[in-house]
Amino acid sequence: MLGQGLTSLAEGFQLLTDPIVLVMIFAGVVWGCICGVLPGTGSGVALGVAVPVTFTLEPVPAVAFLVTISVAVSYANGLPATVLGIPNAPPSVFTAIEGYALTKQGKGGLAIAHNWFSCVTGQLMSIPFFVVLIVPLSTLSYSFLAPEMFALYCLGMAALVSLTGKNILKGFAAAAVGFSIAFIGPDPVSNVPRFDFDVPELRVGLEIIPVVLGFVTVSEIIRGMRQVYSWDELVGPAGMVTKFPGFGVLRKSLRPIFTGSIIGTLVGAIPGLSGTAAAVMSYNQAKLTSKTPEQFGKGSVEGISSNESAQNASQAGEMVPTLGLGIPGSDSMVLVLGALLLQGFVPGPRLITESPELLYATVAGLLGTVFYLFLIGWPTAKLVLQVSRVDRRIVLPLALLMTLVGVYSLRRSVFDVFVLLICGVIGYFMLRYGYSIQAAGVAVILAGGFESNLRQGLLLEDSSLIGFATRPWTAVILSAALALIVYGTMATVRLVRRERRLAESGQLPVG
């Protein structure tokens, strides 16, 4: 197993000698940084627009490109938070508190430098942890049969729905919508047609990419087009980025960075938890163990380092369930899995064992991003903050057009474009009204494996549900899924009570 891990690292390094891989990683860093800085343009839109570009690429550069975008978005999210006090994503909230406090004290350079150093170091440290986690996980899946596979699918869905949404019932309803779309086409076990309504295009089922891009990307773009404003109106002018403070100053943050990297990778590896939970845990841990806890909230560089290292390391962590089990670790990973489908891979627990080149490409993407961010991260910080001056009113329509072109070029099919737009409309309402589009997207991707493993597992156990559910690994994993659902339900109940309390105090209406 150790040998396999070292091989993965060596292969990842070797891929970095391929000029195409290097160019795609560089393009991913630039694109990810641009999207990370722009409010409302997170990894969903960044990856959604980039996925069509991967259609014509070989799998290795394509995967490295997508991994890089995800990491670069995470890095760039912290820049407006630090300089302007505006967190573009929830994990950057603590960076906004600490970084902006420093910026207001005239120490913007110090804050940005810690942001940059923590991201690069945290990402670098997370790579061996990623390999250590994913190799045994993917090896374990060899001993899993259909019931265990079904349990893993359940765990992934339960984790994503329970932990990402504020209303667990709406989360599961969203997943049900995704499942019902995936039912269209031949049954995965007996191959009989289902819900094709004698429409020739429906007989083979819907292409997954238009459906997922519709849910995740088009929905977000058209929601954004509801309003006309400029990004610089929202975030203000790019703030001052002063001179680099030197590595001697940055070295003092190594302890919170190391701890943040471990927390980030481990927490990120749990489907549904990802960056925000990792950042919160790491920040709190740094505060508890700091020699100067009184600095937290007033411009603590330890606060920035713990937060940024954890949220960047969580990107590597999210790859663990995505590639090791075929279960997306976060919403952006849904699009990565969708792109893998296009490349001919079958998402599922045996993804890595059957296609180890994906692991090498991921390692190369993570290493390459560290390399580029180390070299150009500091000057890029200055440049990308200017991106908020790009006219949002032009970017959104062009992003939609790019998505349309990408989906059309997939099979030169106008029907796929219609599917994209219909799913975009459904996704728009889901996004606005609290139905998780990520859950719907994941359900579309995993539905086939979910259903076929359940039915084949029952056949394996002579139709005995008890025999199916009491297999040791199946029971353990299903119990974990159930625990997550209970946790999610309790969170929903707490939310309803909180809303009611606020309503009773006149702060919030409840309906």
Partner: protein, 201 residues
């Protein structure tokens, strides 16, 4: 709109105690549409149950069958839809207005007017792009969609309205068609381009 400083917009994240993370502002939605969506969910569930009755049995008999999952999921969707509707109705009288918290939904940026018509108009234009592309070719249809989209966002500068869409359509055509070798429906402009620009695939 006048420029706003970061302090002025920081209310997107509600302030809390010093040292604690600010909380994202809760999005508000129209409860009537929320109920309509829950009703649509229940209706989809009913449709799944009814239509799964038409699915024929496969050659491999299994305890769930090809229609089993759709039926189970349809039943869940009906129950979920009814519960979501009931929840809104139970608390209907508590709130005089129709705006309610969105249960995790994503709201608009505060202080800027929003228009659902513009968003759906853009979708209709995108539908038109798909209809037009086989008729007039990639470049013309893409240029038109970009112009319509940018104009709908209230851009009036001729440079941004005409030159940017033309450049974008041309660059994406060069990228996808000439570089990646993906054939797009060709109108008169593409035919001219294909004559003079060799494919690099």
């Amino acid at each position: 709109m006048a420029h706003r400083s970061s302090e002025e917009v920081s209310h997107r994240w509600e302030p809390t105690d010093p040292g604690e993370p600010p909380v994202e502002r809760i999005a508000m939605v129209d409860r009537r549409i929320d109920i309509a969506l829950a009703a649509a969910l229940a209706a989809l569930g009913v449709a799944l149950i009814v239509l799964s009755g038409d699915i024929r049995a496969g050659s491999i008999p299994d305890p769930i069958g090809a229609g089993g999952m759709p039926r189970a999921l349809g039943a869940f969707m009906v129950v979920a839809g009814v519960v979501l509707i009931a929840r809104r109705l139970v608390s209907w009288r508590r709130n005089p207005g129709h705006l309610v918290p969105a249960d995790g939904g994503t709201g608009d940026e505060p202080d800027y007017p929003s228009s659902a018509v513009r968003a759906f108009g853009m979708l209709a234009a995108a539908w038109g792009w798909a209809m037009l592309i086989p008729l007039v070719g990639y470049l013309t249809s893409s240029f038109l969609l970009a112009v319509v989209g940018i104009a709908s966002m209230k851009v009036r500068s001729p440079w941004k309205l005409i030159v940017v869409p033309a450049l974008f359509a041309a660059i994406t055509w060069l990228l996808f068609n000439r570089l990646f070798g993906i054939p797009f429906p060709a109108g008169p402009i593409e035919q001219l381009g294909e004559e003079y620009i060799p494919s690099l695939e």
